[in-house]
């Protein structure tokens, strides 16, 4: 994990706590696919796959604001899997946290090296 400045870490922890309502977060059962190196931080492809999840939150630990998006899967979701494209301000950890059907939480993360940051001046 990369060292973060204190305010950024606080914002990240607050955002996670809001999603989990303070519950313990385990590991495993969730896959985050992101490139190891992204040449352009403006559009970084990411995919999350968390079988049995009701919702998955994506976070960018090193962005000005850590929130990226939250997927909620409905009764007709064919799989608890989704991909999108995100902005990363610089090299950082991308974090995915899933809320499972039984109310438990699980997380994973992946470090993405960014050559050109994607949040503008």
């Amino acid at each position: 994990a990369l060292a973060l400045p204190l305010p950024a870490r606080a914002a990240l922890e607050d955002t996670i706590a809001e999603f989990t309502a303070g519950a313990a977060v385990g590991e495993g059962g969730i896959t985050l696919t992101a490139p190891e190196i992204a040449e352009n931080g403006n559009t970084v492809p990411v995919e999350v796959d968390a079988p049995g999840a009701v919702a998955v939150m994506l976070l960018a630990s090193g962005n000005p604001s850590p929130d990226v998006c939250t997927f909620s899967f409905g009764s007709l979701a064919g799989a608890q899997r989704a991909s999108t494209r995100i902005r990363l301000a610089g090299t950082q950890d991308v974090i995915a946290i899933a809320k499972m059907g039984d109310g438990s939480f699980t997380r994973t993360q992946s470090t993405v090296k960014v050559t050109i940051g994607g949040c503008g001046g």
């Binding site: 979701a77 991909s83 999108t84």
Partner: protein, 109 residues
Amino acid sequence: MAEGVRARVKAPATAAAGESVTIKTLISHPMESGQRKDGDGNPIPRAIINRFTCVFNGETVVDVMLEPAISTNPYFEFEATIPEAGDMVFTWYDDDGSVYEETKSIAIG
């Protein structure tokens, strides 16, 4: 309403009953993050699509909350179960109150 917003959806025209199909969506939108500054150093206000939903015959497939860290021209790919023939409705909600909607009919066959 943001200018030139155009939604594109890729969904199969037919599916087997109960089949899980891949859906791809793209909408042209600048997704102004609120982090950028203009030439005079003034911040450019945030203007993004903040929510996207996909509903089939009234049942939710996915409901996504978007933040400014989603790229320009938001793209989503996901899986939908098709229990019977019907309409898949895609809706994007803009910060400025605009709502963009797209519908695809899927038949069983």
